[in-house]
């Protein structure tokens, strides 16, 4: 390996700026506490570090369990080429969620307290346990790649043997905490705006997490094919997009049913941001759901990509609406995140992208593709080494 000055590109400059601002924000968080580094208040104690970094972060990492279940439990082996990137994203996602928590918690060094100080009535207690266990599971699901890379075949074999149990545990743990992120808000009856407050929140969170798991897998495949000059697993992606269409429509139907059932449509007539952002959110779910049924959209990589991005934005809007928009009226204050909060969040996202890239370059993340779909992979590239060469 040669040491050379990295080329200056537009995205590298953007990355550097984001990381620098994140570093500055971290300094402020450490030296001035939550007061100096956030616009959080007694009236509005949860901001974007919870609303985006935790709620969206955990959701966007749902591809790990969705694809692990599809491939290893339902035995749909054809999807194997995308399972490794999905697990890598999930592992990264959860690790970054923990990083975000270190910023948000008042006393981050006590993050382990729920492991010994129990309160089984608390959803947060359950989420804490699930996320801890599931991050371990993801590590174990991801570890074979490391063993493979360093050719530790014996350890690899042992881990493979217990893998079914690990995978099942992972799916259960994900089911529990993905839905529990919705349960977190059940207790905010009277506080969370009725456009969003629903006893069905746990179920809605769970189904949207499955959808977003599929969506993120398509999103990643598209990006990594661009970044690494790989061929897009196109037939697979098309099938995944059909699955996404089904899960997403199920979600939309449940949502519409739910709002109707609770007679909450009347709140759309009230002035304020709530109704506008609710409409935006619904549009970002319904439009992609409909588009995904169009043959034409599914056949056009760019069209499909844009549709999926629209849905991912819808997902993020939903989580932010629940955690921020919907909580504002009852709080009596207006919350706008401080630049430091935004800088930390962006740095975590940028860091995630960078680590994914690094891992994808140095570990056999995409290698399963060659074993499973020889026809698709042989022509485009051969050895792992060539991935390094085509990196930039």
């Amino acid at each position: 390996m040669k040491l050379t000055m990295p080329k200056i590109t537009f995205w590298r400059v953007v990355f550097a700026v984001i990381m620098m601002s994140g570093l500055a924000a971290t300094y402020i968080r450490v030296t001035q506490g939550l007061a100096g580094s956030s616009n959080l208040s007694d009236e509005f104690p949860w901001g974007i570090w919870i609303g985006f970094d935790i709620l969206c972060g955990v959701g966007l990492a749902a591809g790990g369990f969705t694809l692990a279940a599809i491939v290893h439990i339902f035995n749909l082996r054809e999807y194997k080429p995308v399972v490794r990137p999905a697990i890598l994203t999930a592992f990264l996602g959860y690790s970054l969620v923990v990083v975000a928590l270190m910023f948000d918690l008042g006393r981050p060094w006590r993050i382990w307290h729920p492991l010994i100080m129990w309160n089984p009535r608390s959803v947060m207690f359950e989420v804490g346990w699930c996320v801890t266990l599931y991050t371990t599971v993801l590590f174990l699901e991801f570890f074979p790649l490391v063993l493979e890379r360093f050719k530790l075949t014996k350890a690899h074999k042992i881990l493979k043997g217990v893998m079914p149990l690990i995978i099942i545990a992972g799916v259960i743990l994900s089911t529990l905490h993905q839905s529990s992120l919705g349960s977190l808000y059940l207790i905010m009856k009277g506080k969370l705006h009725p456009l969003w407050y629903s006893p069905l929140m746990p179920l809605l969170f769970y189904i949207s997490a499955i959808a977003v798991g599929l969506g993120m897998t398509i999103f990643e495949s598209w990006h990594s094919s661009k970044a690494f000059g790989r061929q897009l697993e196109w037939p697979l992606i098309q099938k995944l997009s059909r699955m996404l269409a089904v899960v997403l429509s199920l979600y939309v139907v449940m949502r519409l049913f739910d709002v109707t059932q609770r007679h909450a449509w009347v709140y759309l007539e009230q002035p304020g941001w709530e109704s506008k952002l609710f409409m935006l959110e619904m549009a970002l779910f319904i439009v992609p759901a409909l588009l995904l049924y169009r043959e034409k959209t599914r056949q056009n990589p760019t069209g499909l990509y844009i549709t999926v991005v629209m849905f991912l934005l819808g997902f993020v809007t939903n989580r932010l609406n629940i955690s921020l928009t919907g909580m504002e009226a009852s709080s009596g204050v207006t919350y706008i995140p401080k630049w430091t909060e935004v800088a930390v969040t962006f740095s975590i996202i940028a860091g995630g992208f960078a680590i994914f890239r690094l891992a994808a370059k140095n570990l056999p993340v995409f290698e399963a593709a060659e074993h499973e779909v020889p026809a698709a992979a042989n022509g485009s590239r051969g050895e792992l080494a060539s991935v390094n060469a085509t990196g930039d």
Binding site: A69, R107, R110, P114, I168, I187, G190
Partner: protein, 251 residues
């Protein structure tokens, strides 16, 4: 006998002595500037608020089944047998779920504390359970009194009966979130003196429990279901493999 507080805003003259004695108890400064702040915060555990000619106190409601205690992942907030909802700082990691969950917006946080930020709220003087709370003790008009919850409810009803024209005919805290240990009387509807009308009447931890109780079920049936699907699928594969070695590459 579980401790409770009755705050009768009709009798309150807004002298703010309760604020002062409370600040003393928590070793917090009490200046003119702080006295003028009409909201609770980490440096003002109880606050007297002005609504035209009327006054109302804000303090922890000490719910019978508190949302804050139910949501705390480390059980740093606990409802004690004696009545008060207390905070155990040593357990708290600062997730602030209690603050988000509290229907009355009670728990506050020492946001500017860098190393050891903590939640701050009224604990109904749980350090001295034999005597009345400091705010009750100092109150010159008996607007705030301490006692057993049932006795205080009886007393409140008595006061309302004696001068029905002075009171709005309800006690805030009997039904709110399934009942609180702080009870409030008012001359006007409660939302006019700063008590939210949108407080649900039901026990809030129950809303969470409705979902949490399914967990053991999900774990057991989920494991069996997925284990079964996995086993069936693998069995199919083994059979296929045994039947014809040539088909291996397909699946």
């Amino acid at each position: 006998m579980a401790r409770a507080i009755l705050y009768d805003s009709v009798l309150c003259v807004g002298c703010r002595q309760c604020e002062e004695t409370c600040s003393e108890r928590w070793k917090l400064p009490y200046t003119e500037k702080i006295a003028a702040e009409e909201k609770t915060s980490a440096h003002k555990i109880t606050a007297v608020r002005t609504h035209g000619e009327r006054f109302s106190r804000k303090l922890c409601m000490h719910c019978i089944d508190p949302a804050c205690a139910s949501v705390c992942p480390v059980a740093a907030l606990q409802k004690t047998e004696a009545g008060p909802v207390v905070y155990l700082e040593d357990r708290c990691m600062g997730c602030r779920y209690c603050m988000t969950a509290c229907p009355f917006q009670v728990p506050t946080y020492t946001w500017s504390e860098i190393l050891e930020p903590k939640v701050a709220k009224c604990d109904m003087c749980s350090d001295r359970l034999k005597e009345p709370t400091r705010c009750s003790e100092i109150c010159p008009t008996e607007a705030t009194i301490t006692g057993d919850r049932d006795e205080l409810i009886a007393k409140a009803r008595e006061r309302m009966k004696e001068s029905p024209d002075s009171y709005y005919p309800a006690i805030y805290g009997i039904e709110e979130v399934g009942g609180t240990s702080v009870l409030i009387l008012s001359a006007v509807p409660f939302d006019q003196i700063g008590f939210s009308k949108s407080i649900p009447k039901e026990n809030l931890p129950q809303t969470t429990w409705a979902a949490l109780q399914h967990i053991p079920n999900i774990v057991v049936s989920g494991s069996v279901l997925m284990g079964g699907i996995y086993w069936l699928n693998n069995r199919k594969e083994e059979v296929a493999r045994a039947e014809g070695e040539g088909r291996e590459g397909v699946k």
